[in-house]
Symmetry: none
Subunit: 229 residues, 4 copies
């Protein structure tokens, strides 16, 4: 992924204030902080936390190294904030996908396949793999990253998904007694196969392959939780 592409990705992270004022009106302040965060995630994702140099982050952000320290204090904090920002972004995308899960009457299969496909797309995003790589790698040393990934990201998506499944069950479209259990199975079926297929993030999956995984997952899921099961 080229630096240019990252800029696009990170453009979405501009502060609410910045967005309101149009493009980048109150420049000179928040801009640098954002640039550093974006560069930091980029570099950490590419090189890994320990192998990444603050020099490199600063260079990619176009600021002096000391400026990075002025803003974030130390490398660890920089990692945490970069991960938090990225996780927030990824979570938002996941939640957007889940929000499409509304009963439209009739067989929910197609609906579930569509949402499943969208969740898989989120999961297979380059940034998403990078995020998981960083979390896996550093969780052992920085246990508080767990709070970020679990409370502020994963759990929120699961909760939202459980809510939607519950409503579908209530509407008689699914036969679910414990929505949390159902979400656990559904999530497993959707994301479990991706590790191997995407070769742990080193291979890009085609849309067709993603859709195939979604279809298989929903098929199994509906055998167990479909209303005609």
């Amino acid at each position: 992924m080229s630096p240019k592409q990252w800029e696009v990705v990170y453009a979405g992270r501009m502060s609410a204030a910045a967005k309101q004022t149009g493009r980048a009106a109150p420049r000179g302040r928040m801009d640098k902080r954002q640039a550093i965060l974006a560069a930091a995630f980029d570099v950490f994702a590419r090189r890994g936390y320990a192998q990444a140099g603050v020099d490199e982050v600063a260079a990619e952000a176009g600021v002096a190294k000391a400026t990075v320290y002025n803003h974030f204090g130390d490398k660890e904090t920089l990692l945490r904030e970069a991960i938090a920002a990225s996780a927030e972004e990824a979570t938002a995308k996941n939640l957007a996908a889940v929000e499409r899960l509304v009963d439209s009457g009739g067989d929910p299969r197609e609906l579930l396949e569509d949402v499943g496909f969208r969740l898989i797309q989120c999961y297979c995003d380059e940034q998403s793999w990078a995020l998981r790589r960083l979390l896996y790698a550093e969780l052992a040393h920085l246990p508080d990253l767990l709070e970020i990934v679990q409370v502020r990201a994963s759990a929120r998506v699961r909760q939202a998904l459980a809510d939607r499944l519950a409503r579908l069950a209530l509407a008689g479209r699914l036969r679910i007694t414990d929505p949390d259990a159902a979400v656990e199975q559904l999530s497993a079926l959707l994301t479990g196969p991706l590790e191997a297929r995407a070769e742990w993030g080193t291979r890009r999956l085609s849309a067709a392959e993603m859709r195939q995984v979604a279809t298989a997952a929903i098929d199994t899921f509906l055998h167990a939780f479909g209303s005609r099961a």
Copy 2:
């Protein structure tokens, strides 16, 4: 994990000849190599590759730092070999679990739950988490690790599992058309929930919780692939 425990673990790696002769006949040479490999995996797992010092590995193996270099040439090779050895070991345990999957007549549910439970135990092993952590962390920098994890570990287990499921299907215990697809679903159901429940390896799961995951997984699986489905 204490050194004593590692010795037990690595005892399995002794050459056939050594096992036969009783007390490690060709000692004095391979001993040090094994000690280094064990220490290396231990330290890399604890600290992460980049943060781990070769000093520390040498100290834990009870040899001089230069001896590590005599045997492995550089730190990267040491990582590769340590990972390969550990992956081999983990794979062996997984295969042993899969081998129990033989039709004993009647309802396969209990059998599947037992094997599922054992596979989950393998997955939740401390060493297993450490291995996945290292792989996730370094796969981006050392792409050839993929071969180790995929070809020499993951794929072999999947293949073995597919074989057994095929035989159960042949015996009329399951209703499977594509064994590979069935394995994909089963694996996902067994391991998918563990990430979150074990908090990405930072929390130990009780046997009861593991069994619960197994039961839920097999239940869903049998809805989709059971012969009465």
Copy 3:
């Protein structure tokens, strides 16, 4: 930094002038670089390139080791720059000696003996021996040192000397057809005996001994190139 700047810089190293002119105006930055260069030459000369430690250079320069690397990048570059600076300095001294070679009318013997003596003094300078030692030792590994010693040092002195001899010949004081050939003979006669007498730089020569060498050299030279020859 351009070569021109270096000349200026190094002129300043003979502190007397610099101190007189005021208070070291552009201090603070160049100071450290100079201190490192001086220390580097010193240490390399004492210990030899390979045996010298960058630690030692830094300590002698009164800076941190990393500062040395900030300025010069690596040990090899440090050697090159230290040698170049020292060679420049030595060349300046040689040229100053040659410049005294102006016809004052009458027999040139005394004049030549005086200049010869001064050149021998340059050659026997401690720094001069150290420089030749380093060059001899490292020329095989760092062939670009040749350019420094030949083009920027030795050749310039020879050229200047040839010019002066040519003018003396033109004035009828010497009988020279090829000034370059004459310089070659003269240089050989002046410096050739010093190797053995100074025991390859390990022994200090007295002024009397240097003068004796000069006298003998000029005597032989005048037999071959004197106007009455």
Copy 4:
């Protein structure tokens, strides 16, 4: 100079015993010592003393590293012995050249030019340059090398040369009062120009160029010391 050529050079260093018995009758003993010495000089000459590894010497000699230590005790001794052997060899060649300086009646110019040319050839030999490089580089650290080069090599050649010049003077072919002074001038004239012309040993001189240097040197010398001067 290729490794093969070195073997030829060093073949001449076989022990007297070996020579007597024909070719290499008492093999297995002295052979290894010689091979190590030859390899040592080769490696030291190529890499410099500090940069050369005992490993490399052992490998080039075809023995184990420990064998080198069995024979020579430590690296420094190895250097000394290798240098001594090489210096002895070079001295022998120089003496052989000097021995040709016998009065054959008439003008000694041609005779002197021939001997001068031969001495220049010795001086420009690859091994000779390597030897001087090593001596220059290490003389500061290992002062006892001085004894080798001065007493056992340089002085002997000078002495022999002085003897021959004295006899020529006695025969009326030269007009010399102090033979040592005459040798000093002659040596300077012969070897002085070579440093610059051969670019400190990095360039090979053609026979024509060597002869030219010899001719010029002898011409100057005879102006000063010829009997018709």
